[in-house]
């Protein structure tokens, strides 16, 4: 296939840091080209230079359709037909798809500058149908599903001069999508590909790379390590390229004393999307919760932690904890990491230190006074234990990458020495290196006798960590998978699929 974009020796340095070094990268017509690498590997820098957000260092050589291309110039990128859909999509949630498209391009007006809504609606409808989305384009975007919203963002990026579009960059489009939505999005990507548009696809989910990508470019430590045909790779060789060493999945070898009383006991739990669920977790046991969004998997931990209202009894070591009060749950020995880190986890204006210690500030008190020195030392200790990348314990947490913010969330929970640890999507949006470290800490927590409950959409993660996995469907537990039956992740996926086909019948 014809190469359309060709980049030779592209570098970008910031004072004190080289973010991208001598990168060589090319894009062929109509291919899906995955861009993978850990946080800080340079892939975002590459995208941002291409978008004209950063200007590259001199010395590069870039051609677009065999003509010299002025990389680092946003207007030139636009003229060359390169479009971007960023992770947060940039949609106006409160208005419809029609209006979102028009906001990007301007309304077509009729007599008296009247907006021609009929024409606009038809145009939007068609643009989305072309992507495989048959949706109501007049409802607010907020009411649409994740895939459809991404579809709207793509349609908006592609509108006007359609013939001219040559490359569409999708920056982590699946980061917050549940499984079924990912399939719908991939369907849209295949349609674009069929139209001859090349897709640059950034993702942390490596199994998606195998599903959709034709070629893969791996970045590590600001350098391009390899560009490979996707079919020549398997998962372990790709991971090795990304982290630069062989990652052997740690085998969990836990022995759970079945004679011990359960630490966490949930009896007859009812609530939003939850229909009479009971479960028990023993000390040292890790219980996984799988299920599609809306199955109860996503509301179980919020209910147990007090973030959401519930009915039914939840007890730790026999002592019932009050519903709807996180402070009471924490006092009873429960610690949890919420799924939506930005909204429910970090306090972005505060420092790494304040974010680490907020659940128990009193520990570092001397008399009435908060001992800042002691608190700083404790935070520093957590920073090195979890290898959090930050300039200091005093840096605002908003300056950290997602994976490092998540490690701070982990530290916040671990330092409570919890009897029960609840983790909701603990590695969402976290790169593979940090993921391994977080998993190791879950093992450590279980080893000290905590009862751990993990809700996750990542079956491989559940298989890696859990002794037992419960699968939820329509607010009930429909299956329990116990470690030892081999191929745990595949079993989980199979049950999940069976559950969703039950739902559609």
């Amino acid at each position: 296939m014809a190469k359309i974009l060709h980049i030779w020796s592209l570098s970008k340095s910031f004072p004190g840091q080289v973010a991208l070094q001598d990168a060589t990268f090319d894009v062929e017509e109509g291919e899906v080209h995955a861009l993978v690498g850990q946080n800080g590997s340079g892939k975002s820098t590459l995208i941002k230079v291409l978008a004209g957000f950063h200007q590259p260092d001199p010395g590069h050589n870039v051609t677009m359709r065999d003509e010299v291309f002025n990389i680092g110039d946003a207007a030139a990128a636009h003229r060359a037909g390169i479009r971007f859909v960023h992770q947060d999509l940039g949609l106006v949630e409160a208005v419809s798809a029609v209006e979102n498209l028009a906001l990007g391009f301007g309304y077509r007006t009729g007599f008296g500058r009247r907006i021609n809504w009929k024409k606009e609606t038809l145009k939007t409808k068609q643009a989305l149908l072309d992507l495989g989305f048959d949706i109501d384009v007049r409802v607010p975007v907020a009411a649409l599903g994740g895939a459809a919203r991404t579809g709207v963002a793509i349609a908006r990026a592609l509108q006007e001069s359609e013939q001219n579009i040559s490359i569409l960059v999708l920056d982590e489009p699946t980061a917050s999508l549940p499984g079924a939505d990912v399939d719908r999005l991939f369907n849209a990507i295949r349609r674009l590909k069929a139209r001859g548009i090349a897709i640059i696809f950034v993702s942390h989910h490596l199994e998606e790379v195998f599903e959709i990508a034709d070629r893969v470019t791996v970045l590590r430590d600001a350098k391009v390590v390899a560009t490979v045909e996707a079919r020549e790779l398997d998962m372990s060789s790709l991971i090795e390229l990304i982290v630069g060493r062989k990652v052997t999945a740690a085998t969990v070898n836990r022995s759970i004393d079945q004679s011990l009383e359960p630490r966490l006991r949930v009896t007859d739990l009812w609530g939003l999307g939850m229909n009479d669920v009971s479960l028990e977790v023993r000390p040292g046991e890790v219980l996984g919760v799988a299920g599609l969004t809306g199955s109860g998997r996503d509301t179980l931990i919020p209910m147990l932690s007090g973030a959401m209202e519930r009915l039914g009894d939840v007890s730790i070591d026999g002592a019932t904890i009050r519903a709807g009060k996180p402070s009471a749950a924490i006092a009873a020995g429960l610690a949890f990491v919420p799924a939506d880190r930005l909204r429910n986890g970090i306090i972005s204006m505060m420092s790494v230190r304040s974010n680490t210690t907020i659940a128990n500030v009193a520990r570092n008190k001397t008399g009435l006074r908060l001992n800042h020195k002691k608190e700083r030392a404790e935070t520093q200790d957590w920073i090195s234990q979890l290898s959090v990348v930050t300039t200091s314990s005093e840096a605002p947490i908003s300056t950290l990458s997602g994976g490092n913010q998540q490690k701070v969330m982990m530290a916040r929970s671990f330092r409570l020495d919890p009897k029960v640890l609840l983790l909701d999507e603990p590695t969402q949006g976290v790169d593979i290196g940090a993921k391994e470290e977080i998993h190791a800490f879950v093992d450590a927590a279980a080893a000290t006798g905590s009862a751990v409950l993990i809700a996750s959409t990542d079956s491989a993660e559940l298989a890696r960590l859990c002794d037992r996995v419960i699968v939820m469907h329509r607010g009930q537990i429909v299956d329990t998978i116990v470690r030892g039956g081999g191929a745990m992740a595949q079993t989980i996926d199979k049950v999940l699929l069976a559950g969703s086909s039950l739902a559609s019948n």
């Binding site: 970008k12 973010a19 975002s44 820098t45 992770q87 402070s327 924490i330 429910n344 306090i347 300039t391």
Partner: protein
């Protein structure tokens, strides 16, 4: 994740604006500028001890009221009723200890305690409205402020009341130590206590966390409702203190007493929040308060007798200019991003 990897570790070139700290120290620069300008313009009056003392003493009630606004503001909660609470405090003091007009004639100490109890109870009520009835604090306290003003007007018959206080109480408000008005020390003490609580106790951390991200703070075990409620009680109590200090110093109630102090207090907090640490804080509030106060004094001396309009004009204009200077930081960042060619 993807937005942070390059921008963060890089140390951006510090612009001139940044190096001078025009953003974080704009109030100090402004203060210095006022001292120089008005010092050159009106050297004999502006630079005299008398006017310095006057400015220090005159702004104590405003300062305490600013602290009252600051505490809930740190928890992202507005208390706009404090002006009305202050006038409630003054009218209660005058009313309870007045020998001639009414029958109470309480000893001034008892009157002060009763006044503080009344004001604290108002805080309990506003906390109830915000926390339990879940009314946005801006609306709740704006409404409650009007209700309190109505009660104050009813008690005072919309007339001026002169308090007849004991000599001790008047000394409490008018004495000087080391040439400094005694009331200034009250402000200093109140400021140190609030500063200590906010910066050096767990409660302060909880208040800021509640202000930063209420839901995340609640999920981390912070009793956010208690923080909001408590800070509203504290603010009403402080507004009561502001009223008592005013009574001791001036000994006179007029309908304008409280409300007229609200804007300068809020201005000092907002302006102060852009200073030093870039979040609401005691030191920034005080610096902003006195920078504005000395500016106003200077302008009043320049304008002369009909300077009644100087106050609001100056407060409003400086607040806008100063806070916009602080947000230049953001503007400069954007500009740099566009120009950056390396």
């Amino acid at each position: 994740m993807s937005t942070s990897e390059s921008g963060v570790l890089a140390t951006p070139q510090r612009s001139l604006l940044n190096r001078l700290g025009l953003d974080r120290f704009s109030a100090l620069y402004l203060w210095g500028a006022f001292m120089i300008i008005f010092g050159l313009w009106k050297p004999d009056t502006f630079l005299s001890m008398t006017s310095a003392k006057l400015v220090l003493g005159e702004n104590v009630s405003t300062g305490i009221l600013a602290l009252a606004f600051l505490v809930p503001f740190c928890a992202a909660t507005f208390d706009l009723s404090i002006g009305a609470v202050m006038s409630m405090s003054v009218v209660t003091m005058c009313f309870l200890s007045d020998e001639k007009s009414r029958s109470f004639n309480m000893p001034v100490g008892v009157a002060a305690v009763v006044t503080l109890v009344v004001c604290t109870l108002i805080g309990v009520v506003s906390g109830f409205i915000v926390v339990k009835l879940k009314v946005n604090s801006f609306i709740a306290t704006l409404g409650l402020g009007q209700v309190i003003s109505a009660v104050v007007l009813k008690i005072s018959f919309n007339r001026q009341i002169t308090g007849t206080f004991s000599d001790t109480f008047e000394k409490f408000g008018r004495n000087q130590y080391f040439g400094i008005p005694v009331v200034f020390f009250y402000l200093a003490v109140a400021g140190i206590i609030i500063w200590y609580v906010l910066e050096h106790t767990p409660v302060g951390r909880f208040i800021y966390a509640t202000g930063g991200n209420p839901e995340a703070a609640r999920l981390a075990g912070v009793k956010t409702d208690r923080m909001v409620w408590g800070s509203l009680i504290a603010s009403s109590f402080l507004a009561g203190v502001a009223g008592i200090v005013f009574s001791a110093k001036v000994g006179l109630f007029t309908a304008a007493t409280g409300p007229n102090y609200l804007f300068p207090a809020i201005a000092a907090v907002f302006f102060g929040a852009s200073q030093l640490k870039g979040r609401p804080n005691v030191a920034g509030t005080f610096i902003a308060l006195y920078a504005l106060a000395f500016g106003i004094k200077g302008l009043q001396l320049v304008v002369g007798t009909d300077s009644y309009w100087v106050n609001p004009m100056f407060q409003g204009a400086t607040l806008i200019i100063a806070v916009s200077l602080a947000s230049q930081k953001g503007i400069a960042k954007i500009r740099k991003r566009k120009v950056q060619t390396t």
